[in-house]
Symmetry: C2
Subunit: 310 residues, 2 copies
């Protein structure tokens, strides 16, 4: 199999390292991952962590290009890469940053994140998912739900503007570290409570920290089911996000890029605001984005080579 | 000194146990405290924890009344007391709950908290501070800033309604547990950044979780001073609270009951909305409230005794 591997795509985030082996037509030959996310790497042993996963795909005497996206290019990552600035076309080869490494079998490039200077906002990794979407759609409003949810306006293949909401992190803090933790379950779900939370968070965002307290008070006063309170908490935080993302909601159609569970929640929440959604699986679209990036590199190198020959 | 001690006031919260020895005129003879807050007490050893602090004030053969307020009467406290319901006059003897204990030198009463059934809200301890305020003022809008800030409407000596905002807890979570912790100092202060935060949180509460992210992004993009970002974070959360407390802000004059540092911050924040404030020290007013409660008990017992004699 190894001789068919043309390049390796890498999605290296805070908590995971995911690698993909592809042939020259961009077909997936193999994939592998580890929990060596950026947060786990000590003493800058990035190369070791990467080789642990991709070594079986490498051949001596052959150089395999590796294209990586995500927090690997952040301040705490392997090498801090400069951000592209909006408006911009993401995953453009001319912006890729080469990392020098010791193993001569690989040649590593990092896809830079994107900065929105006007609105003071940043993304790393999502630009690759957006590039994956650009294979099919040229203009769209995109929501990437997650720990740090992003709302993005794409126009004519370029990222025009975007905003980040720390909804996933806020949910995690409230449900695991705050006094509400005594009143919310680890699991269980109630759609009505979620819906109620979304509408409340959307309509009265100013009452957020009051609504948080009420979850606990409601439990103490009325012994409410903790799965109900968990669903309401989730709804409140997503409702707040939607209220803050109003500027992006004028088009009444949103492309969702996230894990299936989150896509589903956001789809329900947005339907309450009469907004339609199309859902894309985050891992799949990341791979599409890496291919988009590799193709841009191939085109550039191809034309460069032609130039040299001509 | 002991022979002059007529009763003991106790303020027993989550993190502290504060005790006051008073004579029959309500003058403070001595005070003592420990860090045996409710959260520290194991195996229900409440009586032991209390005696550790007040034992020097007790005499054998004499029964000293102890009047306690705060989380001691909560589900995780010594004895869960039922809540008074709004509208109500706080610290009313008829609502006090007697706790039976082993030491015959003390007779313990707990002041119950207050529930706002309509708005699903609770207080324990603040009702005693409000009773302290009632010694001087009959009607007011009161803000008690803290871990769980309360906004209260008092009318004709009764608590009409109130709302809780978990501002202090949110600040603690964001500055110590979230990704913002890398961008905020433990100390240092910038008034302009605080002001900016208050106005932003007040005017665009729906952008709260976006504003949280921007603090981190601003640091990564522009290396902003971490004391500035800490002040802005504080302002954002207080601004959100003020936006949520709009219903209470119609009177343009607010009584603040809190620690001096917090009173000062809220006074600055409210002045931005053209609201005047009067500040009361939290510990002092708690003691006044305990006296108010003890007087109500004396009056009642006095009249009861008269009734029995007549």
């Amino acid at each position: 199999m190894n001789q068919n591997i043309c390049w390796i795509g890498v999605d290296w985030g805070i908590t995971h390292l995911r690698c993909y082996a592809l042939n020259d037509e961009g077909n997936l030959l193999d994939s592998a991952s580890s929990k060596d996310g950026i947060n786990k790497i000590k003493d800058a042993k990035f190369e070791e962590a990467l080789l642990t996963v991709i070594d079986p795909w490498l051949e001596s005497g052959k150089v395999t290009p590796v294209l990586a996206c995500g927090m690997v290019g952040s301040r705490n990552g392997w090498l801090e890469t400069p951000f592209q600035k909006t408006p911009c076309r993401p995953c453009d080869y001319e912006q890729f940053v080469r990392i020098t490494c010791n193993d001569s079998r690989i040649k590593i490039y990092v896809i830079p994140g994107v900065a929105n200077l006007k609105q003071i906002d940043l993304m790393r990794g999502e630009e690759t998912q957006l590039a994956g979407l650009l294979c099919d759609i040229d203009s769209a409003i995109v929501c990437l739900p997650g720990t740090h949810s992003k709302w993005v306006q794409i126009k004519d293949g370029r990222i025009e503007k975007f905003s980040t909401f720390i909804s996933g992190e806020l949910f995690d803090l409230m449900s695991n570290k705050s006094m509400i933790r005594y009143s919310v379950n680890k699991d269980g779900w109630d759609n009505n409570a979620f819906t109620e939370g979304v509408l409340s968070g959307f309509k009265t965002p100013e009452l957020l920290s009051n609504s948080f307290f009420k979850l606990r008070a409601d439990d103490l006063m009325h012994n409410i089911d903790h799965a109900v309170l968990r669903s309401k908490l989730s709804g409140l935080i997503i409702g707040l996000e939607l209220a803050g993302a109003k500027d992006y909601l004028k088009e009444q159609n949103v492309q969702l890029i996230g894990e299936p569970v989150l896509n589903n929640l956001y789809s329900i929440a947005l339907s309450l605001l009469k907004v339609e959604t199309s859902a894309h699986n985050a891992s799949q679209i990341t791979l599409s984005g890496l291919k988009y990036g590799f193709n841009s590199m191939q085109k550039y190198l191809g034309s460069e080579q032609k130039g040299n020959n001509g």
